[in-house]
């Protein structure tokens, strides 16, 4: 495997190029995805390489973008439908949760919907309340959907390929603050199966389950904790649906303490689900309550000072992890 450093967005882009070269049934539609290459340049070069039959700019019509993907997927193609900002998902929601997610089941298995939806979520850029949300719990709640949240360049490439190859509707949520993050990425085409967590670093004293960009903060925190004599294990579930709960529970049984970090609001977030499942499966192993560190129950604010207070960071992860360890 020939590996080199790529940014998150370049890695994703390379995955798109390679999977489209491999599979002629894959096509891409969305607003400004063709001529402009997507507002985050996720799709740069695809139009030139694959032509305007396979890479198409759409009207501003999220419902029709997704619905077209649903119909084309039901007919055996592998559409990639881009939703630009995750916040725009609301206007397309019927096609996602009532149509794409349920077709297979309510039709008694008669049809598969191999649809991929790409979008960008996450706060930290003063993009304010309608351009910064992390809505993964909404989607993970719907039987029939899968939700991938790549947290490294390696995963950005592997998960987009894995999502497109998957025979189910998958939403791939890129984190827009990670676009320039660099990391090692193999040159060749590879795919990461959906539902397999990544143990980012191993440790014995506390398990930190982090979602999306929080994986980076958690990794920084683990380093700091290490310097303070606390050994933290960081787990990135990679996909919140399906959720690789086994890897998390195994870690919980080893470290006896679990901290969950995400930038979505805490109430009703994925952390609540993970916490509940951990205590159901590992109650007797726990030395402290499973704890969540997440956004307060408010829309994402604009002013940098407010937004910094809103999104968890390494320092707060360190503090929360220390509390767990010091408790027992």
């Amino acid at each position: 495997m020939n590996t080199r450093e790529l940014t998150y967005v370049k890695a994703f882009n390379e995955g798109m190029h390679q999977i489209m070269a491999e599979d002629p049934d894959v096509f891409l539609i969305g607003e400004d995805v063709a001529g402009y290459g997507g507002v985050f340049h996720m799709f740069d070069g695809l139009l030139t390489t694959f032509g305007d039959k396979r890479v198409k700019d759409t009207p501003i019509a999220e419902q029709a973008i997704i619905g077209l993907g649903v119909g084309a997927a039901a007919r055996g193609l592998r559409p990639v439908c881009d939703l630009m900002f995750m916040d725009f998902i609301g206007v397309a929601m019927d096609q996602i949760f009532n149509q794409a997610a349920k077709m297979k089941y309510m039709f008694g298995g008669a049809v598969s919907v191999p649809l991929t939806i790409t979008t960008a979520g996450g706060a930290g850029m003063s993009a304010a309340a309608q351009h910064s949300q992390s809505l993964e719990a909404w989607l993970a709640h719907i039987p029939g959907l899968k939700v991938a949240m790549p947290a490294s360049p390696y995963d950005a490439k592997g998960l987009i390929v894995g999502a497109i190859r998957d025979d189910n509707p998958v939403i791939v949520v890129l984190n827009k603050k990670m676009l320039g993050v660099k990391g090692p990425v193999p040159e060749e085409l590879y795919s990461i199966p959906l539902g397999v967590a990544n143990i980012v670093c191993e440790g014995d004293d506390v398990t930190i389950v982090a979602i999306g960009r929080m994986v980076i903060e958690a990794t920084k925190a683990a380093q700091a904790l290490g310097e303070q004599g606390i050994s933290a294990e960081v787990i990135d579930p990679r996909t919140v649906q399906p959720l690789d709960i086994d890897t998390i529970v195994t870690s919980a049984k080893k470290t006896n303490r679990v901290l969950i970090v995400h930038e979505a609001v805490q109430f009703g977030g994925i952390g609540a689900e993970i916490s509940s499942q951990v205590q159901e499966s590992a109650f007797d192993y726990l030395d402290a309550p499973v704890t969540r560190l997440a956004a307060p129950f408010a829309p994402v604010p604009y002013a940098p000072i407010l937004e910094n207070a809103y999104v968890p960071d390494a320092a707060r992860i360190v503090a929360a992890a220390r509390q767990l360890v010091e408790r027992s």
């Binding site: 119909g71 997927a73 009532n98 089941y105």
Partner: protein, 340 residues
């Protein structure tokens, strides 16, 4: 023609539309319509008597629309349907046995008992599903049309929806995108004058919904939805146009549902004048076709009676099949949530 604000809109079928009608065609359309009507009438009774679960949006009265359009489509052509979807499925060739079995919630149903009345699907016949969300099928139809265009397989798609559905955003987004991309799709609005219990005049300012085509730069056609031959004629023009790569057409078929919004007697809310119902029944689609057929010497009352008799037999057989079919096993409740 008088000057109009909707230059893209035409009225009625092309001239001479009924000229080349054959005996075969009359019997084909008649069979499709009778099968729909008799299926609906027996399904309605079975639900009202409590024998069958769920609720039904019956298609009786609108048969000419499904029959006319489906008579110019093949199995490879895809349709999406609505909450009022039995007629579309039957006209597209769906079989009574798995349909009744689905309504009874049995494993032998089209959806293995997972979907019921509002989710009948038949992928082998290009029936991409009824849909319980108003407007939900319209974007999916343009996806099927996109797949046809992408593959260049020469097939078309058709989306059926009501007058009420043209007020929902999915309609606007889908028709516009299909127009921009010249997708091979027919948008078939079955204007039965009501969205549930709200009359058209209370939910839009237009009389002719086909005028909406003008906003998208595509042809719109108003057609008598009680005349299967007229519907067929305009659908044929639209299919040919789609196959030539010229894009979508919006067809508005003026029609009427005889029963209530849901069920035969529904909620017994008086919202339409009984005289209005009777006036539409005067122009009943099945009778109209029988008159045309006999007047032209293409078919006899005996021919039509034979279709009724055969349909009756098929229905009795299908109901028996459904009743005696196995129930789904609750142990399988997680099957088919995902493709594995």
């Amino acid at each position: 023609m008088t000057e109009t604000l909707a230059p893209n809109v035409t009225y009625g079928p092309p001239e001479g539309y009924a000229a080349g009608v054959t005996r075969e065609l009359v019997l084909d359309l008649h069979r499709r319509m009778v099968r729909i009507r008799m299926f609906e009438e027996s399904a309605g009774k079975l639900v009202e008597s409590g024998d069958m679960p769920g609720f039904l949006h019956l298609y009786v009265g609108q048969e000419a629309v499904a029959a006319g359009v489906m008579s110019v489509l093949d199995d490879v052509d895809q349709i999406t349907s609505t909450h009022r979807g039995h007629g579309h499925a039957i006209a597209k060739g769906a079989e009574f046995r798995p349909m009744f079995a689905e309504l009874y919630g049995k494993t032998t149903g089209y959806c293995k008992g997972r979907g019921g009345s509002m989710h009948i699907v038949d992928m082998n016949r290009g029936m991409l599903g009824a849909n319980a969300i108003v407007g939900g099928g319209i974007p999916i139809a343009i996806g099927a049309a996109f797949a046809a265009q992408y593959r260049g397989d020469g097939s078309v798609a058709a989306s059926f929806f009501g007058d009420g559905a043209t007020n929902i955003g999915a309609f606007h987004e889908s028709v516009n995108m299909a127009a921009v991309w010249d997708l091979p799709v027919l948008f078939i609005c079955e204007n039965n004058g009501y969205a549930e219990f709200t009359a058209q005049g209370n939910h839009m300012r237009l009389d002719d919904i086909a005028e909406r085509a003008n906003s998208y730069g595509i042809p719109g056609v108003v057609v008598d939805g009680m005349d299967a031959l007229a519907v067929r004629a305009v659908a044929k023009v639209a299919v040919d146009r789609a196959k030539r790569g010229e894009g979508p057409t919006l067809i508005e078929a003026k029609t009427y549902r005889y029963f209530d919004h849901q069920g035969i007697k529904g909620m017994r809310i008086p919202y339409r004048d009984p005289a209005e119902v009777e006036a539409w029944k005067e122009r009943d689609a099945i009778r109209l076709l029988e008159v045309i057929g006999t007047e032209r010497g293409l078919a006899t009352p005996e021919d039509f009676a034979a279709i009724l008799a055969q349909t009756e037999t098929d229905i009795a057989d299908a109901i028996e099949f459904a009743r005696s079919s196995p129930d789904p096993d609750p142990a399988d409740i997680l099957d088919d949530v995902y493709t594995v």
